[in-house]
């Protein structure tokens, strides 16, 4: 990290290779689209590298990068919403690699609001703690916990309704 901060390209490339997959998967989890995940993750790294000098290297790089990626993904999704005549599908797209056996859950996650979906995918898809999510999204931990609880409640209700039907 220290070498990368001094502008060492090899060290920066190592850092990139170590975190690229996680950053991309976080971007995909939020945007639900591979092409958008490519752009968001790339943009996240670009912004992170441009700001490396300001990064406090006593803290872990991963959550800081995820914060940038998550916020960039949210910005892009919101911009798309504003620009699109129609409401965009607020959900992971029909990526075939998603568990075909859990389509009901996938569909329920797709129905969550953007704010709730983001905390769900960062918690269960990326494995971040509520505290890390709170830092990443610049929210109080209580808000993250409450969004998670409400999202789980909504998912549970959706799945129950489907089961009854």
């Amino acid at each position: 990290m220290r070498r990368a901060r001094r502008g060492d390209r090899e060290a920066a490339a190592l850092l990139f290779r170590r975190y690229w997959r996680d950053a991309w998967r976080a971007a995909f989890a939020i945007t639900g689209r591979q092409s958008l995940a490519d752009d968001v993750a790339a943009d996240g790294f670009e912004r992170a590298f441009a700001a490396l000098e300001r990064f406090d290297d006593r803290r872990p790089f991963g959550p800081w990068l995820h914060r940038i990626v998550a916020n960039r993904a949210l910005d892009l999704l919101r911009a798309e919403r504003r620009l699109s005549d129609e409401e965009l599908p607020d959900a992971p797209d029909s990526a075939p690699s998603h568990g075909a056996g859990d389509r009901s859950l996938l569909s329920a996650v797709a129905d969550l609001s953007l704010e709730r979906r983001v905390v769900v995918v960062l918690r269960y898809g990326v494995g971040m703690t509520p505290k890390q999510i709170a830092e990443a999204l610049d929210l109080p931990v209580g808000t993250v916990n409450s969004r998670l609880a409400r999202a789980l409640e909504q998912l549970r209700e959706s799945l129950e309704v489907e089961h009854v039907e």
């Binding site: 990368a4 001094r6 502008g7 060492d8 390209r9 920066a12 490339a13 990139f16 290779r17 690229w20 997959r21 991309w24 998967r25 995909f28 989890a29 591979q34 092409s35 958008l36 995940a37 490519d38 752009d39 993750a41 790339a42 943009d43 790294f45 670009e46 992170a48 590298f49 441009a50 490396l52 000098e53 892009l76 911009a79 798309e80 620009l83 699109s84 990526a95 690699s97 998603h98 568990g99 859990d102 859950l105 996938l106 996650v109 769900v120 995918v121 269960y124 898809g125 789980l152 998912l155 549970r156 799945l159």
Partner: protein
């Protein structure tokens, strides 16, 4: 229920796809571009560097003396690879917001906000030259004038032609995907990419002045006008193959270049306005200008949007491009626009996507 639900969520989200390796390499390239330069060495290190530099200078002086005396043959860099020629630096014409050109595959951009250079397969300035859209690798990239990347979109192939709508809201671009050229439209902020036609020619589209439609050359060399509002297309009744299209800056007039003629379509009326071979054509101050090649100079014939000849003049050089307000002429090794020498390049250099915004 919740813990079971949480396990299901983890399992489902763990099945997310893996990133494409190509996307990673490209992202790495762009990320390294913004890496800050190495910080200045500390004092102790600086002293060591100065001592080393002094020693090198003394060695060079000694070697030079020996070489001058014939006692030592010096061959510096004989085995090293010659550096690539620097991309020519463009000069901004007076009154222009920006100028861009790709010379031998290297894009040069000069705007009021800065200048940048990079390898590119296609380029288009945004309105008022606030950004430049660039074909870079397999991506369409928007760069700010200082070279910073505003956004990037994976195009899935080499981008060969780009046209930015006059209102800045959309970009039409042609990408070489497999054996075909595919036309796409994307929003000016890099989102909402939509394929429009999966078999087109590698020709730059041209936007109508109101930004609600653009012309392109489809499969078979036919000119097509695509209406972005109604998502409809209309084939222009001009005999193919069409090799270039240019909408007038206002109104519906559309100029089309064929192998040996320029035609003007205005509503349902169309007429062939030039039967000689064409060097360059474009809209100049709202009129259609057609350069007819001569030996050392070009005749520029100017037509009103209804096709009536409204004048002609002789360019002092070979016309390379006709931009909305300036004609770019090659004189020897210089490209000149108005009173500004844009750049100096060898005659053999390939210059494309030359634009003044």
């Amino acid at each position: 229920m919740s813990s079971e639900l949480e396990r299901r969520l983890e399992t489902m989200l763990a099945e997310a796809p893996e990133p494409d390796p190509g996307a990673g390499e490209e992202a790495l390239h762009w990320a390294l571009r913004v890496l800050q330069p190495v910080a200045a060495p500390r004092r102790g290190m600086r002293t060591a560097v100065l001592v080393f530099a002094g020693a090198v200078v003394l060695l060079v002086i000694a070697a030079g003396s020996l070489a001058a005396a014939g006692a030592l043959h010096v061959s510096i860099g004989a085995k090293s690879k010659p550096p690539p020629p620097p991309a020519p630096e463009l000069r901004l014409p007076k009154g222009a917001n920006g100028v861009a050109a790709i010379v031998n595959g290297q894009l040069s951009v000069a705007t009021r906000g800065g200048r940048t250079q990079l390898p590119a397969s296609a380029a288009a300035l945004s309105p008022r030259a606030l950004y430049v859209a660039v074909g870079s690798g397999d991506s369409l990239v928007a760069l700010a004038p200082d070279g910073r990347r505003a956004w990037s979109h994976r195009a899935g192939g080499k981008v060969v032609a780009i046209a930015w709508a006059p209102d800045g809201f959309r970009i039409a671009y042609v990408v070489h995907a497999g054996r075909r050229f595919v036309l796409h439209v994307i929003y000016g902020n890099g989102v909402n990419d939509t394929p429009i036609d999966r078999s087109v020619r590698a020709v730059r589209p041209s936007w109508r002045g109101d930004s609600l439609a653009f012309a392109y050359v489809g499969g078979g060399g036919r000119a097509v006008v695509y209406d972005v509002g109604h998502e409809s297309r209309r084939v222009v009744a001009i005999r193919p193959p069409v090799t270039a299209v240019a909408f007038a800056p206002s109104g519906d007039a559309l100029a089309l270049e064929g192998p040996k003629a320029v035609s003007l379509v205005n509503g349902s009326a169309h007429r062939q306005i030039n039967s000689a071979s064409v060097g360059a054509f474009g809209w100049l101050n709202g009129r259609l200008a057609v350069a007819v090649p001569g030996l050392n100079s070009n005749l520029i014939r100017v037509f009103a949007p209804d096709g009536a000849l409204s004048g002609s003049s002789r360019a002092h050089g070979i016309v390379k491009a006709i931009t909305p307000k300036l004609v770019v002429v090659q004189r020897g090794e210089t490209l000149v626009a108005g009173h500004t020498t844009l750049l100096t390049v060898p005659r053999s250099a390939t210059v494309r996507d030359l634009q003044i915004g």
